[in-house]
């Protein structure tokens, strides 16, 4: 009741507020001057906060306004810092406005430290707290998509916890790891690049290995792109580095509790149009496969609809941040329960984070960043698996029903009863992860700090599968536990001093040791006596009982020196030496380095006011070398193996297994970066452009050996490729008044990936070396790493009804062969990026975010099955448009054509332009005005209601009906842009509320 009373009071108060203002007023006047020249400023807006009433200054900067004592006056002018002044008892209020800073004094997190933006010569894409604040995401990688130039993120599918492929400035490797290093609060995270944490279930994508990072804990995400930024990460920097900083409190800050709740409805964006049972039966009669509809099975079931649903999810995040004189803290907790749009797909996350720092002594800070979380995913298969709901739903004959006449599930054979599977079978992944670090920071002398930290990342992934009698005869069970544990210690000494007001000298030196152990225990069994017996213990046959363990270690010394003169010239150099257990004995240590320079040309005398509107202009250049150490655990050894390979007649034995290469080492990336950064119109317009070139050498390639050596091949550092392109970033604040703010961001990246050397690999018809990544694509010298190599489909001959293809020479043929394959496009885009716009009016905020990709192709392998004119599986409705008589412009050939059986063979018929523009996100928010909050007693500091729609629409090729243009069924860099049937990105609607108090 008390609450109701208060509510009524609030509502009345809002309605009456205007009258109240005019009730007890007085006159206030004054002059507004500029801090720059002390002159009166005309046209400054003077508004009573929380209202629309106000005035503006006259030609001399004078104003006069009627107010009441409790009002707050807001003085604002374009390009100046707005001021808020409570009226109180004053009758004269004079104000001096400062020029608004242009956002150049922000501190940017870089490797092992921070640097203020003005002196920044490294190329770092910053996704800051302001950008992240109003985003809802389930994974940290999602936050990267389209937000930063140079970063390409491909979500492999729309299932919960799906793997995402992240590339910084194009693909960095062909056969080794190609994902960027992710560093959270100084801890380089285990990412499963050397070993799959989860089994693949159709396709070659496991689950997201960084799902345990809660996006709500993230304060900023910085992507280190050029060598000057990544060389300090040495043998792990070549694929780029993503530095995540989690939220922290501040000293002497009252505690703020923030609670964010949202609910979400998720549905499929797109489905393939398949024939229903009647259409399919009629088709079989029409093409002469059956003499009448009656002789065919009579059932009917809509499988695609039955495997999709509207998923309902909710998410709660609560955090407290603040600090006292000597302690600052951030405490965050999250709980989320999500349901995907594919039946049987669920995810539950529970986690907590504690970041704190204590000023233990005047010269000593100690602290910790700790995260504990558990993530449980009820998986569904996808891509090329008959246990995958969205795959089998498309392939299943539409007359097959999941139940018998008594309503019991039946086994539908090879194309499995995916409804029974999702209803009955167990397919769970539970990952438990704790990671973080403890640190101590010492102020030794002015400007010199010593920091030592102990970090860890302990991950346990348990995957349990159990298929019951009806779905797998005899039953099947599997339990696979992967534990990847690492610890590291880092000690750095850093020095930062401004000498004589002109010379800024910074220096960093560090030493680090890191060690990681991965264990995998796996048991599998079949022939279970009863469905009720869940675990492999009860299986009559234990088909797998295995345990393996791998380790790696890394020892590093690193340093960085910077010098900046008068804010105009900045030089920076970094050096790192890495010793790794992965490298061969001849190359145990690698040296990585970079040099960079920046010239803030706008700071020169002659540039002052030379270009109208220009605030700041800086040219940067950097060059350096970083490496990629994801070459496996023990690739350099000559190895013998045991087990069935070595056993003979019941006796254990050992046999040679791997040809060693004592000189084996990291892959190397020499990177050039030329940048221009500018700020215009008092910081309201930012325009950056960068040219980059990465020359990647020592790529790990399996070199074929003459068989008389006893081996097939040996891994050698021999491949070479180059990535180059431009990055553009534009940020603009188009309108900025106290009431209305409209801003827009745009970024674009071009990437040209070219393989330059693949010695001793196979050669194609042009004599170019290549590696075949899949049956449809190759990495080929002179072209990209993902060139589709296919026969070209020409069309249905309207006269004959035959499907026709082109020979290599371009002649039409009805019987193409492997030798007719040609290069028909790349899976890599020419350019990609994103743009967003935000409109803020009073308490409302409206933002839209788009991402796009252009020039890439995708291969939809599943159509090879659904478009078969012979009735092996269900068919796409499109196939009903087959040739019937001369003159027909048909999609499929005549059923009697000799090409009917090969029509759906692998060809560029199923290769599609995957350029797209997607409205990724549309959000409308409303923040309650302070006056309302005040009326509620001031207990609530802020409250925001929001409605969000994700994946609002996607503009793509018409041929991609039912297919998401953003796909990959493989994490392998040599197998991108292919899909069987990928569950598309989901469309979701979110209703949320965030309150702080």
């Amino acid at each position: 009741m008390k609450f109701m009373k208060r509510l009524i009071f609030i509502v009345c108060a809002i309605i009456m507020s205007t009258q109240l203002i005019s009730a007890q007023t007085k006159q206030v006047s004054g002059t507004v001057t500029s801090a720059d020249d002390g002159m009166g400023m005309p046209g400054v807006s003077v508004v009573i906060k929380g209202t629309t009433s106000g005035t503006s200054t006259d030609i001399d900067g004078k104003y006069s306004i009627e107010v009441k004592s409790s009002d707050i006056l807001v003085f604002s002018f374009v390009g100046m810092v707005a001021q808020e002044i409570p009226v109180g008892s004053q009758t004269v209020i004079n104000v001096t406005l400062e020029t608004e800073s242009i956002g150049m004094d922000e501190v940017v997190v870089v490797g092992y430290g921070t640097v203020d933006e003005k002196r920044l010569v490294q190329n770092v894409a910053v996704i800051d707290e302001e950008t992240l604040e109003n985003l809802t995401a389930t994974s940290s990688q999602e936050l990267l998509q389209g937000r930063a130039s140079g970063v390409q993120m491909t979500q492999s599918s729309g299932v919960l916890g799906a793997f995402s492929v992240v590339r910084v400035r194009g693909v960095g490797s062909l056969t080794a790891g190609s994902s960027p290093l992710v560093v959270v609060d100084g801890v380089p995270m285990n990412d499963g690049a050397d070993f799959n944490y989860t089994n693949t279930q159709g396709g070659n994508t496991g689950l997201n290995t960084l799902i345990d990072i809660n996006p709500n804990d993230i304060e900023s995400m910085n992507v280190l792109k050029d060598a000057s930024a990544t060389a300090i990460y040495g043998s792990r920097g070549a694929n780029g580095v993503i530095i995540i900083k989690t939220k922290s409190g501040s000293y002497k800050q009252d505690a703020t509790v923030t609670a964010d709740f949202y609910t979400q409805w998720t549905e499929s964006t797109d489905e393939i149009d398949m024939t229903n049972a009647d259409e399919y039966r009629q088709y079989l009669v029409d093409i002469g496969d059956a003499s009448s509809v009656d002789e065919l099975p009579q059932g009917s079931f809509d499988w695609p609809s039955a495997v999709t649903q509207t998923g309902f999810s909710y998410n709660a995040d609560v955090s407290v941040r603040g600090g006292s004189e000597r302690i600052k803290y951030y405490l965050g907790a999250t709980y989320s329960d999500q349901e995907g749009f594919v039946v049987g797909n669920e995810m539950q996350r529970i986690g907590g984070r504690l970041n704190f720092e204590v000023k233990a002594k005047e010269y000593l800070n100690i602290g910790a960043n700790l995260n504990v979380s558990q993530n449980k995913i009820d998986r569904v298969g996808l891509e090329n698996s008959t246990f995958a709901p969205m795959t089998s739903a498309y392939l299943q004959y539409p007359w097959v029903e999941p139940y018998d006449e008594n309503g019991n599930y039946i086994n539908t054979g090879f194309i499995a009863n995916v409804i029974a599977i999702e209803d009955l079978d167990l397919d769970d992944v539970v990952s438990k992860r704790s990671y973080g670090n403890f640190y101590a920071e010492l102020d030794i002398i002015d400007g010199l700090k010593l920091k030592t930290d102990f970090g860890f990342d302990q991950l346990s992934v348990e995957e349990t599968e159990r298929s019951y009698e009806i779905n797998s005869s005899g039953g099947y069970g599997s339990n696979r536990i992967v534990e990847d544990s690492k610890w590291l210690t880092t000690t750095t000494a850093s020095f930062d001093k401004l000498i004589n007001g002109m010379h800024r000298v910074t220096a960093l030196g560090g030493i680090s040791y890191e060690e990681s152990t991965l264990g995998r225990t796996w048991v599998e069994g079949s022939n279970f006596p009863l469905d009720a017996l869940r675990n492999v213990e009860s299986a009559a046959e234990k088909t797998t009982t295995s345990h393996i363990r791998n380790q790696w270690s890394l020892f590093s010394l690193f340093s960085r020196i910077g010098y900046s003169y008068a804010g105009k010239y900045t030089f920076e150099g970094s050096l790192r030496r890495d010793g790794s257990s992965r490298f061969g004995p001849e190359n145990k240590y690698g040296t990585f380095w970079s040099v960079a320079g920046g010239y803030a040309i706008s700071e020169e005398e002659f540039m002052q006011d030379a270009i109208p509107g220009l605030d700041f202009l800086k040219l940067t250049a950097s060059y350096g070398v970083s490496g990629n150490d994801k070459i496996g655990y023990y690739p350099s050894f000559f190895l013998y193996t045991a087990g069935a390979d070595g056993n003979y007649n019941g006796n254990p034995g050992l046999v040679p297994d791997q040809a060693g290469n004592e000189g084996l080492k990291w892959e190397e990336n020499k990177s050039l970066d030329l940048g221009l950064r500018s700020r215009w119109l008092n910081g309201r317009l930012r325009f950056d452009v960068t040219y980059y070139r990465k020359d990647i050498s020592d790529l790990l390639i399996n070199q074929p050996l003459t068989y008389i050596t006893g081996y097939d091949a040996v891994a050698k550092n021999v491949g070479e490729m180059q990535n180059s392109g431009f990055e553009f970033d534009i940020n603009a604040t188009i309108v900025k008044t106290p009431e209305l703010e409209w801003s827009a961001n745009f970024n674009m990246t071009t990437v040209k990936n070219e393989i330059t050397a693949l010695p001793n690999t196979s050669t194609d018809v042009n004599g170019s070396n290549f590696i075949a990544g899949t049956s449809a694509q190759r990495a080929v010298v002179g072209k990209s790493a993902n060139e589709f190599y296919l026969i070209r489909y020409s069309g249905i001959n309207p006269q004959t009804g035959d499907a026709e293809w082109l020979t290599a020479d371009g002649e039409k043929t009805t019987d193409p062969g492997d030798s007719d394959r040609v290069y028909v496009g790349s899976a890599q885009p020419d350019f990609f990026g994103g743009f967003s716009t935000t409109l803020k009016y009073k308490g409302f905020d409206l933002s839209g975010f788009f991402n796009y990709s252009s020039g890439n192709k995708i291969m939809v392998d599943g159509f090879r099955f659904t478009d078969r004119a012979t009735a092996t599986f269900n068919i796409r409705k499109k196939v009903l448009n087959y040739w019937k008589q001369p003159g027909d412009n048909a999609y499929a050939p005549s059923p009697s054509s000799s090409t009917a059986g090969i029509f759906a063979q692998r060809s560029d018929l199923f290769l599609f332009n995957a350029s797209y523009l997607r409205m990724k996100n549309l959000t409308l928010g409303y923040t309650l005005p302070e006056s309302t909050l005040n009326l509620m007693g001031g207990f609530i500091k802020s409250a925001r209601f929001y409605v969000t729609m994700n994946n609002v629409f996607t503009i793509k090729s018409n041929d991609l009906e039912g297919i998401d243009p953003e796909v990959t069924d493989d994490t392998d860099p040599l197998a991108q842009g292919e899909t069987f049937f990928t569950p598309p990105q989901s469309k979701s609607y979110i209703l949320g509320l965030r309150v702080s108090f």
Partner: protein, 399 residues
């Protein structure tokens, strides 16, 4: 300030020391595979590497039936009625350069050769108390026997016979050194058949001198002698062939079996060397003895008897026919005759007989007959001994 440094510096330097000592941890070794450097540092490692040689021989492309069957197709003893295009090329004498089955035989056999070379190279330097010269030589002898066996087989498959040009024709590259990373040593031409035979002979002579075991599922002195006898016979060295064959026949470790039930009985003294396969560990591709020679549906039904072979038997009386054949469905769905030497088409657990004592009787008989000698036994008697076992009437003379 100096006071502070007094505390801080020791911490820092301690830290540095801890770091420096971590350096050793960069030398991590795999736990589920063994580095080759480690294997030949203990006698146990060397013994396991030798056992691994037999395991390598279990590949279908080595001793378990694929290349052996190719010879049968060429000889028209059995037909190939299956669908493998590469086998059809072999059957029809139209082998192309890109025939992957041939490539795999070459590759897999040389894998065994190199595995043997690692033993031969690694064991001599092994220093372990109680592991004497004789023990080392016994292990090396096993490896050299295996290497000789593989080279002998490959010489038969990859070069023309001795009789064509008295062994001066090209045969195989002789690889008697190990691979350490560089491939330049491997840029060698094929050696002549005579050189390869000499290489095999040297291996076998060493094996004969140093082998000690009597397990017929492993290399024995008798097995080395038997293979040496075969080499002499192939080279027309009749007297040596007869002498060695006679020696093996007189070895009490071997004895002519009374009937034909010995094929899957590795305990039978009929075997001089038989390769044991089990369901868990043995033939690996379905293209070995068990897969090819069993009628479908258990096997592939790919390799039934040819009419030539059937016609060569006295099908009513010859126990080799009446007790060692069955009729079954072949790969073309017709009923054909198949051998019953390999009966397990489901788990492919049939042993692969490599050398049997019967061969020594035939070798002694042929060598004596051609040389006009009767070392150990008169050739006619040897032949009649075998005919007797087959249920066939004695011959009165040889021609």
């Amino acid at each position: 300030m100096m006071k502070k440094i007094k505390y801080i510096l020791p911490i820092f330097f301690t830290m540095l020391l801890v770091m420096a000592s971590c350096d050793n941890d960069l030398d991590l070794v795999p736990e589920d595979d063994v580095s080759q450097d480690v294997i030949f540092t203990t006698s146990q490692g060397a013994e396991l590497a030798v056992m691994g040689l037999y395991s390598k021989c279990q590949d279908d492309d080595v001793l378990n039936g694929t290349p052996q069957s190719m010879g049968e197709w060429h000889a028209d003893n059995v037909r190939f009625v299956g669908s493998f295009p590469t086998f059809l090329q072999v059957r029809d004498f139209t082998i192309l350069a890109n025939n992957t089955s041939i490539e795999e035989v070459w590759r897999d056999c040389f894998e065994v050769v190199m595995a043997a070379n690692f033993v031969i190279d690694g064991v001599p330097a092994l220093d372990e108390p109680g592991f004497e010269e004789a023990d080392k030589n016994a292990l090396i002898a096993e490896a050299r026997f295996i290497r000789a066996l593989i080279y002998f087989n490959m010489a038969n498959w990859f070069s023309a016979p001795y009789q064509l040009s008295n062994g001066s024709n090209d045969c195989l590259p002789i690889v008697d050194f190990i691979f350490t990373g560089s491939t330049t040593e491997f840029e060698i031409p094929r050696s002549s058949l005579n050189d390869v035979h000499a290489f095999i002979a040297a291996d076998l002579d060493f094996a004969i001198a140093n082998l000690t075991g009597t397990d017929r599922t492993l290399a024995t002195r008798g097995a080395a002698q038997a293979l040496r006898a075969r080499l002499h016979l192939y080279r027309g060295e009749w007297s040596d062939a007869a002498t060695l064959a006679n020696a093996v026949i007189n070895d009490t470790n071997f004895e002519l079996a009374e009937d034909y039930s010995f094929f899957q009985n590795e305990g039978s003294k009929e075997h001089i060397f038989t390769l044991v396969n089990t369901a868990a560990d043995g033939q690996n591709s379905g293209e070995g003895f068990s897969g090819l020679y069993n009628p479908s549906p258990e096997g592939r039904g790919d390799a039934p008897f040819s009419d030539y072979l059937i016609n060569a038997y006295d099908t009513d009386n010859d126990l080799r026919f009446t007790t060692l054949t069955e009729q079954g469905t072949d790969a073309q769905n017709t009923i054909s005759f198949f051998t019953t030497k390999y009966v397990d088409g489901i788990t492919n657990a049939d042993n692969a007989p490599v050398i049997r004592i019967t061969e020594m009787y035939l070798t002694r008989a042929e060598a004596n007959f051609r040389a006009g000698t009767s070392t150990g036994e008169d050739p006619l008697d040897d032949i009649n001994t075998l005919r007797d076992r087959a249920g066939l009437a004695d011959l009165s003379s040889l021609s």
